[in-house]
Amino acid sequence: MSNQSVIIKSNRYGLVVLLDDQPDWDTIKNEVAEKFRSSDKFFGDAQMALSFQGRKLSAEEEAELLKIIGESCRIQIVCVVEENTAEEQAMKAAVESRRPVEQHDLANLQDGRFYKGTLRSGQVLESETSIIILGDVNPGARVVSKGNIIVLGALKGNVFVGAAGNESAFVAALSMAPMQIRIGDVIARSSDGAARRKKKADETPKIAFVENGNIYIEPITKDVLNDINV
């Protein structure tokens, strides 16, 4: 098994499996299994596109190899790209169309739940779906959602929306004075001493969203809402 009749090459979006066309089919199969098993740790359960090269494969043979790969490691094969297409481009398109929002995530983002009551210091509310809070989020409290968060009250604590890395998520509140807002991987914190200096928090309803990698907080107007995607 020391021969190199199977070589795995990878690029950003997937794997290219180079198969030698000399050895017999069983040797190829064994080696594919071996290679993928030993690289299981390295790839983890990444989603990848795959292409086979160097050997003409029939449809059955290809299916057989995919089955072997599926049994040997946790990689999720998103698609198999035909040889001779511009591999990386094709793989990129295939993988990115699946990411960043997976099918069930999408359903969750559209979904929401209500929470009634004041969230107090030390309390954490987490949800796979969007959250609408009928009450205040006090300093020291934390709300985390993979979708959006709307606070029908004063937001004075920490919020984290788009927790799965979705930067199109938003936070809206009747009174916006958060300690920290995190949208996807972008974090903004309140200016130092702002909460203490200000006698009363601003009472205009506001919305926070990401644009060009920065978090903006703006009054809720038609124009702003038009730019929001849900």
Partner: protein
Amino acid sequence: MSEVIVITSGKGGVGKTTSTANIGTGLAKLGKSVVMIDTDIGLRNLDVVMGLENRIVYNLVDVVEGNCRMKQALIKDKRYPNLSLLPSAQTRDKTAVTPEQMVKLIDELKPEFDYILLDCPAGIEQGFKNAIAAADRALIVTTPEVSAIRDADRIIGLLEANDIHKINLIVNRLRMDMVKRGDMMSIEDVIDILAIDLIGAVPDDEHIVIATNQGEPLAGDSSLAGTAYMNICKRIMGEEVPLMNLDVNNGFFAKLSKLFK
């Protein structure tokens, strides 16, 4: 049936013990039979504020461990025979008692008293859990400072999680002159954050310091703080008492300007 009230705050030094002593005294003055329990095991001080430290023979832990009978550990107040104190132990710590034991102990006291006041230790650990285990009702003491309010907020959350929903707020050490200048949060600001019902506000009054040091609670006397505590006691009993005007200016210039009025 008696009502079990825990006096708590989260943060230390905001006036839990002073409030307990004064509310206990006030309720006794109004003719109710009251027992105050110091649940701050290891940091005993309610007895000092009440001026009863020289009478302690047995304590709460002795009762729980069966070293004495309840009657032996209860200390009668100097001024009001219908007011009693169950002191805490000084030589042990919070782990000496469990919440279940506290419930049992308080159940034993219920038939004999109208009000059972629990002076809660600062913090949210074992001592806090012991103190709230048997409570029907909670009084949150806070000063108008962000740190105290933050802790009070956390405490309210924990009380609600423990199914205590009758929660009232005491805003302590209020200085109206500072509130007027905008240097201190007003009662309204505090209520706005904590979103619970106010049962009373106690002004920052030097009489309190004097009374505490002398071991003579001032609830019901003519001082501003004494009146404020008495009003709180009446509200605990269900009476409707309007909030008093704390804005009494005793400064030199105020007196001077009165002369020219």
